[in-house]
């Protein structure tokens, strides 16, 4: 028996161009939701490039199964390029053969062929999860999502707190917004308020009469954020 892991990671290709991509995605969802919910976790493949070190640790922290729609093996190659070696590589077209031909890309027009294909692939993934769990010792339900790398869109964005007119308000994703704007070169100070407000309004409803209070609170919080992160930068 090898090391102990919290969960098996499953990464699907996105496969937008072909029905097999949709089947890969749907089958992974079925394993996560219904077949092995306690034992599995996922990550969006494009996050390896768009994300940061946390996302890139994924395959180093989880024994990983990749599910590709076609023989280009994007999920396998992308995972191995940016994260770590995968334990099992599955290919939808290998599993289904010609029976994928009757399937559609959109779930809006899903048909019997799609349903059958998704079940077949999902059951194959589940059996590979079981095999992997036996070989590397996966302890189900032993870890929360926060214990390791997992999909950014599977968990709430880290929030940031502001005080608006005496009331504490949590804004989902505020540290991400600050980080993004800092990287774009936004300087802290009262001049940053308008830009901060425009960006935060995308993700958080703000009544017009509260905009001034938000503008000031955001500028102040951003100044604090930049001061803290600059110290971290200097600290290496």
């Amino acid at each position: 028996m090898g090391e102990t892991y919290s969960k098996v990671g499953i990464i699907s290709c996105s496969g937008e161009e072909i029905p097999e991509g949709t089947i890969a995605r749907q089958a992974v969802r079925r394993v996560l939701e219904a077949l092995r919910p306690q034992d599995t976790v996922t990550l969006c493949l494009p996050l390896f490039l768009a994300g940061e070190e946390g996302e890139r640790r994924f395959a180093r922290e989880h024994p990983t199964i990749t599910v590709d729609g076609c023989l280009k093996l994007c999920a396998k190659q992308g995972t191995e390029k940016y994260s770590g070696k995968v334990n099992t590589s599955l290919v939808v077209s290998d599993i289904l053969g010609d029976s994928a031909k009757g399937c559609c890309r959109s779930t809006r027009h899903t048909n019997q062929a799609n349903d059958k294909a998704v079940w077949l692939v999902a059951e194959r993934i589940a059996s590979e999860v079981d095999a992997l769990a036996r070989s590397v010792r996966v302890e189900p339900g032993n870890a929360s999502a926060e214990d390791g790398a997992c999909c950014a869109c599977s968990k709430p964005s880290q929030g940031g707190k502001l005080e608006i007119n005496g009331t504490a308000v949590t804004i989902s994703g505020l540290p991400l917004i600050f980080d993004h704007l800092k990287k774009k070169g936004l300087q802290p100070g009262s001049g940053s308020g308008d830009t901060l407000l425009q960006n935060v309004k995308v993700y958080h409803a703000i009544e017009p009469e509260q905009e001034a209070a938000y503008r000031n609170a955001l500028a102040s919080a951003y100044q604090t954020y930049c001061g803290q992160t600059s110290q971290c930068d200097l600290g290496g």
């Binding site: 996105s14 937008e16 939701e33 969006c44 768009a50 994007c74 999920a75 999909c151 964005s157 995308v202």
Partner: protein, 135 residues
């Protein structure tokens, strides 16, 4: 009826996020554009192929105006197209349309509700409008 009178070939690329309903909405919005609104004048590309550096997909993205549709603040579609040397005519965020339907149940990452499909159609209309204007 599909309207592709003014459209030139545009790539519409979703993030296809697998963790939440937002990713499925982005993906379905793209299919609504390519299959219903602008068939023959809009196409999509596998984002995963772009991530792995596939030359043909990179070329396609570099030579064609792109519209990206992203489900979460990580903006995977937008960033990966830009990193590949592509030009994003517009980066659309699913949340911007969802917030017009505050409080609605949009479905799950596996299946959309009627309200989820409404968001899909609104996003697709926005993407198609950009595609019609893109060179």
């Amino acid at each position: 009826m599909a309207d592709h009178r003014q459209a030139k070939k545009t790539l519409v690329i979703p993030c296809s996020g697998v963790g939440k309903v937002h990713g499925l909405i982005s993906r379905e919005a793209v299919y609504h554009v390519t299959d219903k609104l602008l068939p023959g004048n809009a196409d999509t590309a596998c984002l995963a192929l772009l991530v792995t550096g596939d030359d043909e997909t990179k070329r396609k993205v570099q030579q064609t105006p792109c519209v990206t549709v992203d489900g979460c603040p990580k903006l995977c579609a937008f960033k990966n197209v830009e990193l590949s040397g592509g030009k994003v005519a517009k980066g659309i965020r699913v949340y911007d349309v969802m917030k017009r339907h505050r409080g609605a149940n949009f479905g799950t990452a596996t299946a959309l509700s009627d309200e989820g499909w409404t968001v899909v159609e609104e996003l697709a209309a926005e993407a198609a409008q950009v595609a019609r204007q893109a060179d």
